[in-house]
Assembly symmetry: D2
Homo-oligomer: 434 residues x 4
């Protein structure tokens, strides 16, 4: 199809190419609906009620870098209910759900900071598991994937670096040098989420192996036991004052870390290829969890706003508060539909058919969530800023997702590039973000 548009340029139909097919059937499979109800019930009945006490207990002890018994109890219960590893598309080990089916479950898990681990669906373990499932050797799977899927160990992912603008992946400075049948790692990574967990046993490290190779064949991903000589967690970082114990975000140095070549995932030079595959589903998960967080925040706002009074009226009957609630509902619904549509594209057309949309949700959803959470904070008054409500921590988490996995600006640049592609070629000089 080549209709004439505007000044006469021949273009594909945005209505089709932009949104795939436009006809929608919001029905669903019975299995997926059943999971959704069960996860939703579990989060509300088992997880949310213990959040407050868990938080207090964690911070009342000697160190918050610990696993409280309640977590293991909840994990066991979720596993008994068959609500375990639901993120795994692989049907032997997981539930065999596709992205569209799993997305609403991720939303439910996003309501509580405790929930993802309870269902063994915590990032970055989920992404690491997918990598090992798809690219790992049988030995790698036996050693690391199986205990990870049993919830016995945790893991981290080491990609971002402190010394360079990591929004541009070609800036990466850490090295993974092949030396005979060994690989030697050097460099400094940070924002390695989960590396503070007492059960964190390995990280996946990405580094430069062959600077002379083709641009997408230069890097390798390496499995690194956290107790390997030369690996050191230098410090744990805070996000808006939150350290997110017991997972945490670490700055990790790698100094002449020497490992067998067998620790390289899929062999040297395949780092970018593997990283690409993580991105689509990972961003769906992040975004759906944020939607759950936004829904929870809106519920808190409604609860507070209808029950607390000032000037003789419930807060929501004052000024523009009702309008703010309405805007929140509209924003959440739009964001959810955008993510679900992106999940559907991923399922039906693969990452190649969803590149723009994956960047779109990466921009739209964290910003939406921040607006909703901020509104909820404001309705709570100063209490909303404190640890008495999960809102300030929610804000910190959502804020970090405007930067993690690529800042807004990089994704906006990508979306723009896809829009401009059908137009004249002279504008492509802009590089990564123009």
């Amino acid at each position: 199809m080549s209709p004439a548009v505007g000044g006469g340029l021949v273009l594909p139909l945005a209505g089709f190419s932009g949104l795939g097919c436009l006809f929608v059937d919001f029905s669903h499979s019975a299995m997926a609906a059943d999971y959704l109800h069960r996860v939703s019930d579990f989060v509300r009945n088992e997880v949310e009620p213990v959040e407050g006490e868990y938080h207090r207990a964690l911070h009342a002890g000697d160190s918050p870098w610990t696993v409280l018994p309640v977590v293991e109890e909840l994990k066991a219960k979720a596993r008994d209910h068959g609500l375990w590893n639901l993120f795994l598309p692989d049907s032997e080990r997981g539930a065999g759900l596709n992205n569209v089916e799993y997305a609403p479950l991720a939303e439910q898990m996003g309501r509580s900071f405790l929930a993802p681990e309870v269902f063994n669906c915590n990032a970055p373990d989920t992404g690491n598991a997918e990598v090992l499932l798809q690219y790992g050797s049988p030995d790698q799977q036996a050693q690391w994937l199986e205990p990870l899927l049993r919830g016995e160990i945790r893991s981290a992912f080491c990609m971002t670096e402190p010394a360079v603008a990591s929004s541009d992946a070609t800036n990466m400075a850490a090295t993974a040098t092949v030396d005979g049948d060994e690989i030697v790692l050097n460099g400094r990574k940070w924002w390695s989420t989960g590396v503070g967990h007492p059960n964190c046993r390995f990280v996946i490290f990405m580094g430069l192996t062959d600077p002379a190779a083709d641009r997408h064949r230069r890097h390798s991903m390496v499995l690194v036991p956290t107790d390997a000589p030369g690996v050191k967690v230098e410090r744990m970082l805070s996000v808006f004052g939150h350290r997110d114990e017991p997972y945490g975000h670490g700055e990790v140095s790698f100094t002449d870390v020497r490992l067998p070549l067998d620790n390289v995932i899929a062999g040297p030079g395949r780092g970018f290829e593997i990283a690409q595959g993580r991105l689509g589903p990972g961003r769906i998960h992040h975004c759906m969890r944020l939607i759950g967080l936004a829904e929870r925040s809106l519920e808190l706002a409604l609860t507070r706003g209808t029950s607390r009074e000032a000037f003789g009226k419930p807060l929501l009957n004052l000024g523009g508060n009702r309008e703010r609630v309405a805007h929140a509902r509209i924003a959440i619904n739009q964001a959810r539909l955008l993510v679900l549509h992106t999940a559907w594209l991923l399922d039906t057309k693969g990452l190649a058919g969803a590149r723009s949309e994956v960047s779109q949700i990466k921009v739209a959803v964290p910003n939406m969530a921040l607006d909703v959470i901020d509104m909820a904070i404001q309705l709570h008054g100063a209490a909303g800023l404190s640890e008495d409500f999960p809102l300030a921590a929610a804000y910190a988490g959502a804020r970090s997702l405007r930067l993690a996995d690529g800042p807004d600006e990089v994704h906006l640049g990508l979306v723009a590039r896809y829009e401009m592609a059908p137009y004249r070629s002279g504008t492509s000089e802009g590089g990564g973000r123009g």
Copy 2:
């Protein structure tokens, strides 16, 4: 399901009640896809290319309140192609498309101010036709519906009044008084769109019949021939300087207009009931047309922004312009999905199952469209403000839809009320918008 939330309140699951079922299948029927391709081709190949010349010819003549031959030619061609009355759900007279299937066609028609009439899918004729189809007597249908569906006559709808805040329907002051076997109309209406068209033969008038009746049984809808004694078009109004000839927006006085009782649609007192039924599909149509207008504006922005240069670069490579394009794409996609989901709710659950969503789109889409059109204007420089591009007129049209069919603020109030409904009852005193 009654899980515990936040402070312990028992609530339905927002995830279900708010968005119906969450699982999405973006597939579509072969018939609907075929219509979409054909309408899209027709708009781009037949309608858009003649827009500029049509506009110039209309305003070069003695009066723009006329029907140029090209319009009748296009109508005949569209009818020959079977692209006619597609909005009609009734399968004998129309294509039998439901809201989800028709919505993307409305989007295509929204790209051009000429297109809706070409396909005989112009408002308010569409809503008037639906009313007559559902509520009209056989005589009313023969006299008014059939020529309307053949595209031989046009019509208008007279509801809004100049003297009162029509956002509150109970303010309505015009009367439709039963006097024996006649009904007598008095009052002044304005923003009667289409009443300036040379072929406008009737209006549907809404007035107060029985102030003592139950609140939703007080008003009547009456079929009024435009040449009935006592009907006078006092003046044609402008919207941001545009009069939208040859349709126009009229201020119409009704002075002792005396008609047979048979002209009352479905009998006296059923005005509100009938008005309700118009709203759902009508808002879907308006919103989807605006999405088409936004897509067209984005295309114009991309065409201009990639072809015109300043400071040695295409405009889109300057400053934040690419980000603006990306934001436009994200906003359009989110809005379209929200409307499609609302259409699906209307189709599967009726208006009662889509009340909040219908108000959500009524707020979200016009504001989105205004942002996108304004961005496109800015990229065109001063030319964007002029009649050389359809952008200024598009802005005026989209701006009026923040007021027509209820201003943003009323719809936000409704959305908020639906959100608050599950919470405590003490906050319901706020009336229409609190």
Copy 3:
């Protein structure tokens, strides 16, 4: 002063360089206060009350491109009151007010589309008069300046061109070629405001004279009688549907327009130098008039919002309307102070000391005004879109000022460049707007 900042960079104090001195004394001279009261009274008592009737009379006649008697009566009255040519800094011909003193008067005049001409302070006549006063020869002054200052003739300014992105002044294509003792003009200009006025007797044309000269010595400004052979007003443009009769915005062609060299202002090659001088005061005037327009719009919103009712309450007591009023007040006050401070910088430090600020107000004020006017429109319902209130025309006027005299984006680029100047030099490659 060279304190260390952030990462150790040595910078001037933003507190000083950015805002000049920070200490403020909001007192004023008795003369300026007297003018302010008198202009304010005149606008409210003499001009605003006749606006509606003027508008109706203008559009009821055969042609709106005419001067109604009421205008000449008001001009005579204003002149009799000594409220005439107040913009002129020159104290013999004008009132001798500086920018800080004149700015509040411009605000008052901005309240009504009629007022600027009534006080003989209409753009672009004001800028043209300043140019002639400062650069014109005695003959040029006698022939064009004196009747302009007497209000007997009007004028226009021809700079922007349709075929190129005029935001980049180096794109200018029109030519002003010296041929012996004559100058020959060729090219096409548009958005020549005021050229439609029946009394428009001359335009100032800017064109390329010597492409080989230094970048700022290439262009000339030429006085062109509107009846010179080769000058043709091709059409009058609309802005959001408004033609702003009887002034209008014209597209004007110049075809071998041959004039004596004496018509060149200050001699060939000085066009840019002269243009520079216009910009500072001109932008102050535009911005202050917009502030007056925003104040007037807020007053209309308050009048409507306190007098019209829906759902049993005045409109302003519904939803977020009061908050919108408050935001409007805050935005207007901030904008006014920014312009007054810029005026003070212009008066005390010249254009060189106010470059960033002049660009700041050029971005901030039109956008503020649009927000306030749009809010007022929304509070008026559909009436706000019509010609029954001055709001739609106000919106069109304010919207055009996001493009006239440089679009927002160019000015944002300039402001950013001034901010970045003290930092490292490697970022200056961005050209006009980076």
Copy 4:
């Protein structure tokens, strides 16, 4: 003056009443300029360079609730330089600066979280000192004011309560009951800033004394030694994860705290009167400090954005980053001018002449600061979220000021009420915020 406006309503001139006199002279006194230079130098040369090390040392020790020696050293140095108690309008004890003169100094101090204490200008000590200076008895001044002004002790202010919406002051539940020649305090307060400081020796407590008295005569302010029996700091609260050690924000219970009547400031029933007086200058100080924080954040953004590269360019040359810098500059400048103008009104007309403006700055400035800080965070990437830069803490501080001293919504309601006052009276039913 009573000119006719809009629909004929007679109104005062907004141009005068809204902004006082409009003529501006941005000159300043030599003394104030000298202070500004010296404070600015001190902050940049003495305070900012030690911030990072101070922060690390504070958190490396056993407890951050301590005073590090460097603070006392800086205090001594500032005092030696005569940069001490500059906030005090009283010229014997302070510098005798008015609000306009002190405001720019507060801006400089706001650049660093350390600076206010260094100059003994820390809140709430400043407000407490002013209260004691104006209302305190000689004994109260000797016992509490003198050591406070010498920087030997610190203090807190106990007003907000956890159990009620404190945005409505009439909700206050704590009691200060006269019992013979004693006063007995009961209740629970929170967000008592500074109560965690090791040198905090007293708080000012506000409680209900006589519920039957006139609305503004019901409450008392009482001086309470922190070691009085019945006073208990229950816990220290966090703001977005920050505890702001060693000052902190405490939740404090008062249980039958029995004190001599002499501890009541100015006698029972004068609490509201005293509280009123604090508000004007206190909000000026808060807002100017936030402007300093915003300037500092913009400097950090410029430093980072010009020195770090991605995709081969400095960050500021990518996408819309330059526009963001320009918007930040414009927003800061507007906010500063609004605060300075408000300070001038306070100085020249008192609180009664600046009520709307004090509420305007309370809304405008924190929101502006949040936007600028957030932009700076985004330009820093994930580092901006961490403790490596002062940005996350700055965000938390600015965010809390959208709630402290009245949330945005209350102040917007007040601003709207002042705007509506000249219009018809029927709209005044809205109470505190309508």
